[in-house]
Structure formats: structure tokens, C-alpha cells
């Protein structure tokens, strides 16, 4: 596996800052649309009517920024933050994409496909950040695939 030392911290930090800001903005755009949902896109499958999506986009943005901060401080756990945020962003993107496609498929099955089922602010913003994630982290994806075996399986003693 790539050891943490082999990772270009500077580049990772910069990318994480860009993505953190992108996710925060995506969450903000969702939130704004949540308040002022234009009638033309009301009733979309997940878009601006779903506040949970906003919360999770903010969460991913914050974890990215925390990761960047830790990397800036040369603390190795920043790498874990960045990877988790990256994975979470991808998960959100997959979820919204799948729901969007499912909604379109359902429209086709039912025999009526409305424009509101295709234009979805939530899906658009989340996908924007997700696609940005994929582009910026292309060279670090192998970290996800590598096997991160621990030195000792961690033993967690609780309430002892």
C-alpha cells in the first residue's frame, strides 16, 4: 500500500480545500433552494425539497476542510479525513444520480416524464461536487483501494 509518507501532502491539502468549499457551496445552494423553491422545479425527486441532503453536503465539506487543516499541521490523520470525505461525497453523488435515474425510469414506465424529473437542483449540485471529487482525487484513488492493514487490531475498552 501507499504509506502515508508517500502522499503529496501539499497537493492533497489544496484539493481538499477546493472540495471542502465546493461541498459547502453545494449545501448552501440546496439550502437556498429549500427556502425559495421555484414552482417550476417543485416536486422533484430529491432536489431542493430534501434538507437532509444539505446537511450531509455541509458535513462532507467540513470534513474535507478539517482534513486539509490537519494536513497543513502535518498531522497524518488528515489523510483519513480526506479519504472519508471523498468517499462520502461519492456516496452522495451515487445516491442522487441513482435516484434521478430511477425517477426518469419510473416516468418512462408510467408513460409520462416531466421536465421536473430531469432538472433537479439537489442532484445537480451534489453531482457537481461529486464529479469534482472524482476529477481532483484521481491520483489518490488508489489509496482507497489499497489494503490499510493495522499494526494491531485495535482493542477498544469501554466503560472499564
Amino acid at each position: 500500500m501507499d504509506s502515508a509518507e508517500n502522499v503529496d501532502h501539499g497537493a492533497l491539502r489544496t484539493r481538499s480545500v477546493v472540495l471542502g468549499v465546493a461541498y459547502l457551496l453545494s449545501g448552501l445552494v440546496n439550502y437556498v433552494f429549500l427556502i425559495i423553491t421555484p414552482p417550476s422545479i417543485a416536486g422533484t425527486s430529491i432536489g431542493p425539497a430534501d434538507p437532509i441532503l444539505s446537511i450531509f453536503l455541509f458535513l462532507v465539506g467540513l470534513i474535507h476542510l478539517r482534513g486539509a487543516y490537519l494536513l497543513h499541521k502535518r498531522r497524518m490523520e488528515g489523510l483519513g479525513h480526506v479519504l472519508v470525505a471523498w468517499f462520502s461525497g461519492l456516496l452522495i453523488m451515487i445516491v442522487v444520480m441513482v435516484i434521478l435515474l430511477a425517477s426518469i425510469m419510473e416516468g418512462i414506465i408510467d408513460g409520462h416524464l416531466y421536465i421536473s424529473e430531469i432538472i433537479d437542483v439537489g442532484a445537480a449540485t451534489a453531482s457537481f461536487s461529486g464529479i469534482l471529487s472524482m476529477l481532483l482525487f484521481k491520483r489518490y484513488r488508489k489509496l482507497i483501494n489499497s489494503r490499510g492493514h493495522g499494526e494491531d487490531t485495535k482493542e477498544v475498552r469501554q466503560s472499564c
Binding site: 502515508a4 430529491i46 489494503r147 492493514h149 487490531t153 466503560s159
Partner: protein, 672 residues
């Protein structure tokens, strides 16, 4: 001449949890037992036959245990099997990436005199760290044969099979493996004199091991000794001993031996921080752990709902078409109705949700395989210990997402009786997969835009009610301190898609089989009840004069405050047999009414249903009495009708209160 097919050798697979015992069992026997990257997957012993060119071996997979001390029920199962059944060989599976901790059990197995064979797994991890394991030295020191197996690639299995089929080990009566020091050894010697004189009066245990366990205050063995004729002599020798102190001291001695052995045979490099531990900083972090857990759950239910819905629509269209076909082309009319409305309507209503079930189980299997499920249990443990509950209760809760029956059985790993009882009693609140179709049906009709979020909320509500109830029991009827939890977090690893797909297939198959058996019978019965009156004469399908209608009329006044009518009442009563029957019954009652075979249309067109009443119904189905199979396993595990009845009544009371609050509260604030 008749061929003797009796196995030549009996082998027991023992080891710590999550070292790969079940994987090895599957390799050896060709079975398909469930494998997970977390502890507690096996809570009962499984057996199978290994066939090799050298002969047959009966393999028994024992539940994972850290010691033979018998703290929890799964440890007792493992210990009692080894001691009472005296297998020809005990195969201890050792995860070599964590040698020192695994060798503690090895020491105990040697103490008990078992003929031992060690199987080292995960040696690739040891190598990848740059460590060197001197297996020959370990084998010579312990005087036991050692095999290395790669359970992912399957290497080393053939050699192991040959060794097992030709194994020639012997049980030892009283091996002295650990020197417990002068004082303890002298007590052991005196106890040995008494125990040797009395034969096997306390069980078929090796005498020295028995003596050590009596000194350590093993509650089970001390209880047995008190009922035996030699109790006075034993009590005299044990009188005044601080068992707790001695137990700690003796455990330390075993750990010292395990540790010194590990240091001799494992040449390790200095450790670097690993990716798994860095990822854990976030996934189990104080502030990020729970939000990340919620994100994963949200994603899981959104995908289950979103991806499954169009697929379910396709299946629904298929069954609707089949139902209409049956109604139009079969004669006489009653047979058409039985097949079209009863059988196809009922079974179809359940099978429609097979795509959703498959997606949910695929995601759960991937999460289990990746190692995240153990983190989920850890995160909830921190939350639960804060409010005075045992975190060990959460592992059965996670299993409960699939089915409450194995989940309640998994509570065996909890040693404290009160903790175990609390875990069993609250587990039915965890939403099993049988309840998912009800949510999907009603969210699909009444919350089409936010279905995933509603389902996510229902699952969360189940967890919250379970945790809240546990807290309530802890404060009232089952007072006491929660026992501490020690759990291992396995390293993250890419989940095996083969295992994930296999688990998903098995769950999907069970669901489909249930639809073809129990649900089919339930649907036929429901069709009969909906078609005939008490005088057994045909009446209007699903009318009030039918037997189902009469039954529903009895319960209708009780459930009317919840916004439910008699049809829902009947479906809920029959849901006791299996939660899927709620949907099957609605399929029969509403599919028939719409005469299209589609339950969705029937429900959507019934004025009794509104978003508010459907939310109340979903919450009621989530919380009300456990299904028949769960009730049976609660009786089996608690051994008490009192607690079983309590579980049924408590669940129903909570469900009723919650549904009442939702419906009447909603009406009050103008949501009706």
C-alpha cells in the same frame, strides 16, 4: 459389503471471533455459511463433513471466543463442546496479524489437554508489514502441528485436509502449561488430590484445568461443586481466597506466556500509522462518528428506495397483468378469484419488494465485509454506555436489520443476564427486512418524493425506541450496571463481492421462499376469510359480512382512534404470523377490491388512508408485537413465558401509543 460412511476423525474449529473460522469451515466442507468481517457471526456450532482422499472428517465450527473461561454463552458452547465431546482434534484458527492476543486461547486449549492443530491465517498481512513469523519454532515450542492457509485464495487448504484426515493426537489428562507461582500451585496440588479421588463427579474436565477454574471462581463449576458430595473438601480449600484477584493474576500468567511466545516467534518491524486507523479518526470520531453513520444509513435507504422503486414497479406490473389474466381466463369464478385475487394478489404484493430487499442486503453485506458494521456497533456503544446501557446490545441490533430471529440468538454473546434480557426484549423494535415492504408500499403512495428519508426516519425511530426502552428497563424492572464491552475493530478491507452477492442471494432466496410457502398459505386463508361468511356461504369479496370482515369489525373500535379500519386490523392480526403477511393481506383485500391485482391502486383510492394515517400505520407495524418466529426464539432464549408475553404486550402498547400520538396529534395540528 456395505460401506462404512461414519467419519474417521472429528475436528472442532475454535478461535477468537473474526479470525476466519467460518471461512475455513466453508473451505473445508464446501458449505455456504455466512462470513462477516466482524465478531459474533457464529453463535451456534455448525457442523459439516470434509471429504478428502485420505478420509472423511466431521468438522464443527464453534462460536468465536477469547478464552475458555465461560463468561458468555457462546464461550460456554465452545468450551462444553470441546470438553464433553472430546473431538479428535481441536483446530485453532489464529489470525497471525494479531498473534499475541490469539495465543492466549492457545495456552488455554493446551491447559485443557486438547489435541491441538494450529491454522495461521492472514499471513499476507504479516508479510506486508515486513514481519517474519517463525512457524517452525512455534510448532516445536508448543509441540503442535501448524498449517498456514490463505482463506481468500484458498491456498494451504489441501495440505490441511490431509493432515486432518490422518491426525493422530491424544488428549492429555493434566498438562502443566503455565506455572502459576508457589501459592497458587500449592492450592492446585491440594485440589488435585480431592478431584482425582472423586473421578468425573464435576464433569469430564481435565483435573488440573478444573482446579484452576475453581480457584478462579468459575460460577458454573463452583455451582456444580456445591451440589456434589465433595463440596465440603473443596469449600475448605477455597475458603478465604480472593477469587477475583487470583483470576486476574492467573490470567496475567497466561498472557505473559502468550506474550513471550509471540516475542520469540514473531520478528516485527517498527509500526507505521495505518490507513485504517486514520480513517477511524473520522468514522469513529467523537463528533464525526454518528453523522457519518447517519450518512451511511441515509445512503443505504435512499438507494434501497430509489433504485428499487422502478424495479418494483416492473414486478408490480407483471403481477397485475398475471392477476388480470387469471381473472379473465379462468373459470369457474371462484377459482379465478382464488388464483387471481388470493394467490397472485397476496404473493405478488410481497414479491414486488424483492428488488428492494436484494438492494438492502447487498449494501448491508458490503458494509459488513468492509469492516464498517463493527464501527457502527462501536459508535453506538459509546452512545449507549453514556446512558447506562451495554454497548454489546448494539451488535444484535445491527443483525436485527436483517431478521430479529438470528439477532436475538446473537444476544448469547452477552454474558450479563440482565443485559442479555434487555437486548432480547428491545430487539423486535429494530426494523427487520419483513417490515420494509410495508414502508415502501406506503411511502411510494403517500410520500413519493421523500420516501427514502421517511424510511430512514422509521429505521432511526426503531433504534431510538429500542434504546429508550432499554434505558427504561434498566431504570425499572432490570436494574443494574451495564457490563463493559471489549470489542475488536477489524481493519477495513475491500469487501468481497462474491461473499456479498452470496449473502444477498441467500437472503433474497429465503424471502422468495417465504412468499411461496407461508405467505401463499396466508394469502389463500385470507382469500377464504374475505370470500366467505361465518355460515360458509359466498359473500361479496372483502365485504364486512365476510369472516375477515367480522374479525375486523371486532378489532375496528380499538384501532379506530389510530385512523385504521377493519381491513387494516385484519392485516395487522395476520401480520403476527409473519410481518410480510401484512402486505400479503392488504394485497388480497385491496387488490381484490380494485380488481386489478394492484394493491397500490386499492390503497390509493381508499379514503381511510391519508399521509397521516399511513405514517401511523408504518410506525405501528415497526413497533407492534414481534412475529411468531421471533416470539418463539424469545421464549427459547429467555426460557420464560413471562418475558415472552411481556415482549408481546409491551411492543403492542408502545406501537399503539406511538400511532395514536401521530394520528391524533397530527389531526390536532391540522395535518389530517
Amino acid at each position: 459389503m456395505k460401506k462404512d460412511t461414519a467419519p474417521l476423525v472429528r475436528a472442532a474449529l475454535a478461535g477468537n471471533p473474526n479470525v476466519g473460522k467460518t471461512s475455513l469451515f466453508n473451505h473445508l466442507t464446501g458449505s455456504n455459511q455466512k462470513v462477516g468481517n466482524w465478531s459474533g457471526v457464529t453463535v451456534e456450532k455448525l457442523s459439516g463433513t470434509m471429504r478428502s482422499s485420505a478420509g472423511e472428517v466431521e468438522i464443527v465450527d464453534l462460536p468465536g471466543s477469547y478464552s475458555l473461561s465461560g463468561f458468555s454463552q457462546d464461550e460456554i458452547i465452545a468450551r462444553e463442546y470441546i470438553v464433553n465431546e472430546r473431538p479428535d482434534v481441536v483446530v485453532q484458527v489464529i489470525d497471525s496479524s494479531n498473534l499475541e492476543r490469539r495465543l492466549y486461547l492457545t495456552v488455554q486449549l493446551l491447559e485443557i489437554g486438547a489435541p491441538l492443530l494450529l491454522v495461521l491465517t492472514k499471513t499476507d498481512i504479516t508479510r506486508s508489514r515486513g514481519d517474519r513469523l517463525e512457524t517452525d519454532l512455534l510448532s516445536r515450542t508448543l509441540e503442535v502441528p501448524i498449517h498456514q492457509c490463505d482463506l481468500v485464495k484458498g491456498t494451504g487448504i489441501d495440505d490441511l485436509k490431509l493432515s486432518l484426515a490422518t491426525f493422530k493426537g491424544q488428549w492429555k489428562e493434566a498438562p502443566k502449561v503455565v506455572d502459576y507461582g508457589h501459592v497458587t500451585e500449592s492450592i492446585i496440588e491440594r485440589l488435585l488430590v480431592v478431584l482425582k479421588r472423586s473421578g468425573h463427579i464435576l464433569g469430564p474436565y481435565p483435573k488440573r484445568w478444573l482446579a484452576t477454574r475453581l480457584i478462579e471462581g468459575d460460577s458454573d463449576l463452583v455451582r456444580r461443586s456445591r451440589r456434589s458430595p465433595i463440596h465440603k473438601e473443596i469449600d475448605e480449600l477455597l475458603d478465604g481466597l480472593d477469587h477475583e484477584e487470583l483470576e486476574l493474576d492467573m490470567a496475567d500468567k497466561r498472557y505473559d506466556l502468550a506474550s513471550s511466545l509471540a516475542k520469540r516467534v514473531l520478528i516485527s518491524k517498527p509500526r507505521k500509522r495505518t490507513l485504517s486507523s486514520m480513517i477511524d479518526e473520522v468514522t469513529t470520531g467523537r463528533f464525526t462518528g454518528i453523522p457519518f453513520f447517519l450518512l451511511i444509513m441515509w445512503g443505504m435507504f435512499e438507494l434501497t428506495f430509489g433504485l428499487g422503486r422502478p424495479l418494483a414497479d416492473l414486478v408490480d406490473i407483471g403481477f397485475g397483468y398475471l392477476g388480470e389474466l387469471a381473472l379473465d381466463h379462468i373459470s369457474p369464478g371462484w377459482l379465478a378469484s382464488l388464483i387471481g385475487e388470493g394467490m397472485i394478489g397476496g404473493v405478488g404484493a410481497v414479491l414486488v419488494f424483492l428488488p428492494n430487499i436484494l438492494i438492502l442486503f447487498l449494501i448491508i453485506s458490503v458494509l459488513e465485509g468492509s469492516g464498517y458494521m463493527a464501527r457502527a456497533a462501536f459508535i453506538m456503544d459509546r452512545f449507549m454506555t453514556k446512558i447506562g446501557l451495554s454497548g454489546r446490545s448494539f451488535i444484535p441490533m445491527v443483525i436485527g436489520f436483517g431478521c430479529n430471529v438470528p439477532a436475538i440468538m446473537a444476544a448469547r454473546t452477552i454474558e450479563n443476564r440482565k443485559d442479555r434480557l434487555i437486548t432480547i426484549l428491545v430487539n423486535p423494535f429494530i426494523s427487520c427486512s419483513a417490515r420494509l415492504p410495508v414502508y415502501i408500499l406506503f411511502t411510494g403512495i403517500f410520500f413519493p418524493e421523500t420516501g427514502g428519508t421517511v424510511i430512514f426516519g422509521l429505521y432511526l425511530l426503531g433504534i431510538l425506541v429500542a434504546v429508550g426502552s432499554a434505558k427504561l428497563f434498566r431504570m425499572s424492572i432490570l436494574k443494574g450496571e451495564p457490563s463493559p464491552m471489549i470489542m475488536e475493530l477489524p481493519d477495513y478491507r475491500p469487501p468481497s463481492m462474491k461473499d456479498a452477492l452470496k449473502n444477498t442471494w441467500e437472503k433474497g432466496y429465503l424471502y422468495a421462499r417465504k412468499a411461496g410457502t407461508l405467505i401463499l398459505l396466508g394469502s389463500i386463508l385470507m382469500w377464504f376469510l374475505a370470500n366467505y361468511s361465518l355460515e360458509l356461504s359466498a359473500v361479496d369479496y372483502g365485504s364486512r359480512s365476510s369472516i375477515a370482515g367480522q374479525l375486523g369489525v371486532i378489532v375496528a373500535p380499538v384501532i379506530a382512534p389510530l385512523g385504521f379500519d377493519w381491513k387494516i386490523g385484519v392485516a395487522l392480526i395476520f401480520g403476527f404470523f409473519a410481518k410480510e403477511i401484512v402486505i400479503g393481506s392488504l394485497g388480497v383485500l385491496y387488490g381484490g377490491e380494485a380488481h386489478s391485482g394492484s394493491v397500490t391502486e386499492g390503497i390509493a383510492n381508499d379514503p381511510i388512508f391519508s399521509p397521516l394515517s399511513s405514517l401511523g400505520l408504518m410506525v405501528f407495524v415497526l413497533l407492534y408485537m414481534p412475529c411468531l418466529a421471533t416470539v418463539a426464539v424469545i421464549k427459547q432464549e429467555t426460557g420464560s413465558w413471562k418475558w415472552t408475553l411481556f415482549s408481546i404486550l409491551y411492543g403492542t402498547a408502545v406501537a399503539y401509543t406511538a400511532a395514536l400520538l401521530i394520528y391524533q396529534g397530527g389531526l390536532l395540528i391540522g395535518l389530517g
